[in-house]
């Protein structure tokens, strides 16, 4: 490279005379150099042209903004006159599977105050309360809001003004600078508590919500889903915020709209739940605490999801007052607890079908009979594990063991199988893990194992633990939802499907395409590792539980049935009964009585509905829980309302649900 600088030095001599004295080799380089010079010079001229063009583009753009569009931007820049006002979207509605409205938006009048426009807040509030009734609690809440927000943020003093109050305010509005009445949409749940545990509710966006949401998406929106479907499907229900460019006068009142980008409403949600069935199921439960879950086995669609008692979600929309909230929280019946998804219970005898199937899968013969003397003892121990029937069942086969729910048979079977095989089989059925339903707050339940007991309890697994597991007592815990899914899986002959509350979403696309609908389907979770033959054997036995005159659920669920039903009763101990003592319901308080359980599906040949019922402290499964399942099945499959039969006039079936299920 040094040669090139050397060469340059000579060229810069600028003397033609000198150049002539160069050597031939240099002359070749000279030619190159001259060519390079010309080349670069022409390219530099091209850059000058480019420079001119780019500069002109910039000038033209600024001219377009500053001269050509000057007036438009001039108006826009008067920032106190032209504002970008967010237009909140309308929250999506929620319907049941037949299109009944479960959550809607109703127009209400609210009294709102913009603090920065108020000269004296005390005087204003004083005068306002003379013509509009405002509770002291509302005033306290309002003042707190004003303190914690900036003065240009409007605060609500009262919601739900009557027509009369609106009229009175309108007449006197010039006295109340800073106050205004606005028509707003408010969430309403027409079925009140019936759907509370499914839908949850919306509430005002609070400080904690603000940390986790995209503030832009919520501009102009005051409410957010707090629980249930409202929270789980928040992203769908919310919609997209629009914006208006409005010109306002000096008081901030709108003169005209310059430009508008419409909001997009949230998706409408259609639940799989049939609200009539839901209401009836809770009615059949009566005053008991408990839950009923009904699932369409083939699809995993949740038909009814009842947790009793309930609360009124409408009270939460604008913030529930402290006294009412504390009353709900302090209620011994715990209405705020969603038992169906988060209540954890021992499955009791409802699990015996699974244990039998596990036995069949592991070489136990269904014809093998066991003699039940009313108790079972382990080798080398005198401890008596009692059967619920103290006199014993005598010789029982597998089918009979399920029919009578004989405990001794299952002590023997569980002892033979051992806990490892049992818990593996339970887990294969999906117990001990979340069902994957589209609601939050689901626990995974508990399937005990040797490892679990060593890790959590610090002791080894005893043979007696296995016996307890064999009758669904002891450590094992399931949710009503999990039991419902077990019933559905039995009905499906082992095909496991995630339960789904929401069936479809109807998207609002600003009128482009009104029929845009997404169907939601629970994922298929695979097949339980058991033969079809063994499934049929267990289902046959469970059918006998209901249909055989000696079955535990015959009188409660099987009598005069117009369709076939497979079921299993269960009773879960709440308090331990001392060795040798007798369970005496009359001596126990209500909260110490056994929980009553029942799982079922019907019709057996082509199952349309799988049900799990848990009645807290209901006593026995056959007495309390099974009739609920029967009534729910009757209502769903036949349209027959058991309670209507009690009253004098028999109503016609409300609908034809069997035809409906076929869709």
């Amino acid at each position: 490279m040094a040669i090139r600088f050397y060469f340059v030095r000579r060229i810069t001599a600028r003397s033609a005379h000198q150049i002539k004295q160069f050597m031939v080799a240099d002359q070749i380089e000279l030619k190159d150099y001259l060519r390079e010079t010309n080349l670069i010079h022409s390219r530099l001229l091209a850059l000058v042209v480019l420079l001119a063009v780019l500069a002109l583009i910039l000038v033209a753009r600024v001219w377009y903004l500053q001269i050509y569009n000057y007036e438009r931007f001039e108006v826009l820049s008067k920032d106190n006159r032209v504002r970008l006002v967010p237009v909140p979207p309308v929250r999506g509605q929620v319907f049941d599977r037949k299109g009944k409205v479960l959550a809607e938006n109703i127009p209400v009048f609210t009294l709102e105050i913009l603090p920065q426009d108020v000269k004296d807040m005390d005087i204003l509030l004083d005068q306002l309360t003379k013509i509009i009734e405002v509770s002291p609690a509302d005033v306290v809440k309002f003042r707190a809001q004003v303190r914690s927000h900036r003065s240009f943020e409007t605060q609500v003093l009262k919601v739900n003004l009557s027509e009369e109050e609106v009229a009175r305010f309108s007449v006197n509005r010039h006295f109340f600078r800073g106050a205004k009445v606005e028509a707003r949409l408010q969430r309403n749940y027409p079925y009140g508590g019936e759907m509370a545990h499914v839908l949850g509710y919306v509430g005002r966006i609070n400080q904690r919500d603000k940390g986790s949401i995209d503030a832009k998406a919520y501009k102009g929106t005051d409410y957010i889903g707090k629980r249930g479907i409202e929270a789980k499907y928040e992203a769908h229900l919310l919609g997209r915020v629009g914006v208006e460019q409005v010109e306002t006068n000096a008081h901030g009142e709108r003169i005209r709209t310059i430009d508008r980008k419409s909001p997009v409403s949230g998706d409408d949600i259609y639940l799989n739940i049939d609200v009539e069935l839901q209401i009836k199921a809770r009615e059949y439960l009566g005053d008991h605490r408990g839950s009923v879950i009904a699932i369409e086995p083939a699809t995993g669609q949740v038909l009814a999801f009842v947790s009793n008692p309930v609360y009124d979600p409408n009270k939460f929309v604008n913030g529930i007052d402290h006294r009412s909230y504390n009353a709900l929280r302090g209620d011994v019946d715990r209405p705020l607890l969603n038992r169906t998804i988060s209540g954890r219970y021992a499955p009791g005898s409802t699990i015996k079908g699974l244990i039998s199937m596990s036995g069949l899968e592991n070489g136990w013969s269904q014809n093998k009979s066991i003699v039940c003397p009313g108790y079972f003892t382990l080798k080398g121990s005198s401890h008596r594990y009692r059967c619920w029937k103290r006199s014993g069942h005598g010789s029982v086969s597998m089918i009979e063991s399920l029919m009578y729910s004989c405990d001794v048979y299952y002590y023997q079977l569980a002892n033979t199988l051992g806990i490892d095989k049992l818990s593996a089989f339970f887990k294969d059925f999906g117990l001990g893990s979340k069902t994957g339903i589209d609601l939050d707050g689901e626990p995974s339940g508990l399937v005990p194992s040797r490892e679990w007991k060593r890790d959590r309890r610090g002791t080894s697994w005893y043979p007696g633990d296995t016996l307890n597991a064999g009758i669904g007592q002891g450590y094992m815990l399931v949710t009503p939802l999990q039991l419902g899914v077990v019933a559905a899986t039995l009905a499906n002959r082992g095909k496991r499907i995630e339960p789904r509350i929401v069936g479809r979403l109807k998207h609002s696309l600003n009128g482009d395409n009104e029929d845009a609908v997404s169907h939601l389907q629970g994922a298929e979770l695979g097949q339980v590792n058991a033969s079809a033959e063994n499934f049929n054997a267990i289902i046959e036995a469970m059918t006998a539980v209901v249909a055989h005159p000696r079955g535990t659920a015959y009188r409660a669920a099987g009598l005069n049935a117009e369709y076939t039903m497979a079921g299993k009763t269960g009773t879960a101990q709440v308090v331990g009964i001392a060795q040798g003592a007798k369970y005496d319901a009359s001596k126990l308080t209500d909260f110490q009585k056994d929980h009553a359980l029942f799982i079922s599906f019907a019709p057996v040949e082509q199952p349309k509905i799988a049900i799990a019922v848990i009645v807290e402290n209901g006593g026995s499964g056959s007495g309390v829980a099974a009739p609920v399942a029967r009534k729910v099945s009757d209502f769903y499959l036949l349209g027959k309302d058991a309670n209507a039969a009690d009253s004098a006039q028999q109503e016609a079936p409300v609908s034809a649900p069997v035809a409906m299920v076929a869709n």
């Binding site: 490279m1 090139r4 600088f5 340059v8 030095r9 060229i11 810069t12 001599a13 600028r14 190159d32 150099y33 060519r35 390079e36 080349l39 670069i40 010079h41 390219r43 530099l44 091209a46 850059l47 000058v48 480019l50 420079l51 001119a52 780019l54 500069a55 583009i57 910039l58 000038v59 753009r61 600024v62 001219w63 903004l65 500053q66 001269i67 569009n69 000057y70 438009r72 931007f73 001039e74 826009l76 820049s77 008067k78 920032d79 970008l84 967010p86 832009k216 501009k219 915020v241 914006v243 460019q245 430009d259 980008k261």
Partner: protein, 358 residues
């Protein structure tokens, strides 16, 4: 005796820009004397660097080029493994005593290195040399792109491309490349750009699609510029600028403050000043004698205008927001030193144009 050599017309233009910058910053920075003093100190440092570099002969720069380039490349690689994250991008390198962005060095080192590679053979470059030049150009750009710093990567790419263009890359091939770019850009948009970069481009096409979100800055900036009108609202009188409507108004978006307050006439004067500075740079390139210096001078001058174009383009809603400051006007020190260093090299080229003949 050692005499300090400077290019007076260039210095005069640059000083005019610096003075304008202080005035605009007074208004844009909320009349804070701290900002003005900070900026003035940076200007002093930057001008010192410029004058120092103006004394260096181009062949000295030529000799040091490979070393500088290699060092810069190593530091870029270090940034990727050990760099600090600032504003969501990994750009800073902490050497213990000083923290800086290696990409700033590369703004100068890359075009210089490309010129170095190209002038080792006669012009126009043959295919082999073109491949080599492209390689030394694209490698650092790729590093910077993944930081991610799209704006800097593009501008460095442009500075190197300018060298190759000046070296006589044939017009036919240029057309072919432009055609390819037309095809590849939509593909790159979909597969290469990060979602936030895609959003910037969508915002550009229709800022009103999201006026409260990503479109907000552009809309407010366009309102500020447009409402300035022919004469402007007057210094420190811009209602948009003073009303805190424009984010980053004293850094990347300072042009909207300037044009709101100074109006179309002010903008014309500013752009004329920029054009004059760049024209002086191209003049230097034209009248210098050796090929390496010509290429370098041409690239440095024109790249400076690309900065102006990209910044005003994005602030005026023509180009996506890529975070390029308005040269010598925006608040901020690092890029100013780099720019002034570039002008120092330019002055050095001019000062030593006839050195060899003496």
């Amino acid at each position: 005796m050692f005499r300090i050599k400077i290019d007076v017309p260039l210095l005069f233009g640059l000083l005019l820009l610096c003075v304008s910058s202080l005035f605009v910053l007074w208004s844009a920075g909320g009349e804070s004397s701290r900002i003005i003093i900070n900026q003035a100190i940076r200007m002093g440092i930057a001008i010192t660097v410029m004058i120092a570099l103006a004394q260096i002969r181009p062949d000295t720069i030529f000799r040091w080029t490979p070393l500088l380039y290699t060092a810069g490349l190593i530091m870029l690689a270090l940034v990727m493994v050990a760099g600090d994250v600032g504003k969501g991008a990994q750009r800073w390198l902490d050497l213990g005593f000083v923290r800086f962005q290696p990409s700033e060095i590369m703004k100068l080192a890359v075009p210089t290195m490309v010129a170095w590679v190209i002038t080792r053979k006669t012009l126009p470059p043959d295919f082999k040399n073109l491949v080599l030049a492209s390689a030394v150009l694209i490698l650092p750009c790729a590093f910077i792109l993944v930081q991610p710093d799209l704006g800097t990567a593009i501008l460095i790419l442009m500075s190197g491309a300018l060298i190759i263009f000046l070296a006589g890359f044939s017009w036919r091939n240029i057309l072919i490349l432009l055609g390819l770019a037309l095809v590849l850009i939509p593909i790159a948009y979909i597969f290469v750009l990060e979602p936030y970069q895609q959003r910037r481009i969508q915002t550009l096409i229709d800022p009103w699609a999201d006026p409260l979100g990503s479109g907000y800055q552009i809309i407010q900036s366009m309102i500020a510029i447009g409402s300035g009108g022919p004469q402007g609202k007057g210094w420190t009188q811009g209602s948009q600028s003073q009303g805190d409507f424009i984010p980053d108004r004293h850094t990347d978006f300072i042009f909207s403050v300037f044009s709101e307050e100074m109006g179309f006439i002010g903008v014309l004067l500013l752009i004329t000043l920029y054009v004059a500075i760049v024209a002086r740079g191209l003049y230097i390139a034209y009248y210098t004698k050796d090929t390496f210096s010509r290429l370098l001078a041409g690239s440095l001058s024109m790249t400076f205008f690309f900065y102006v174009f990209v910044n005003i383009g994005m602030v005026a809603g023509m180009l996506p927001v890529v975070g390029v400051p308005l040269p010598l006007i925006s608040y901020g020190g690092t890029s100013m030193v780099t720019l002034m260093a570039g002008f120092g090299i330019l002055m050095g080229i001019h000062n030593h144009r006839s050195l060899m003949s003496r």
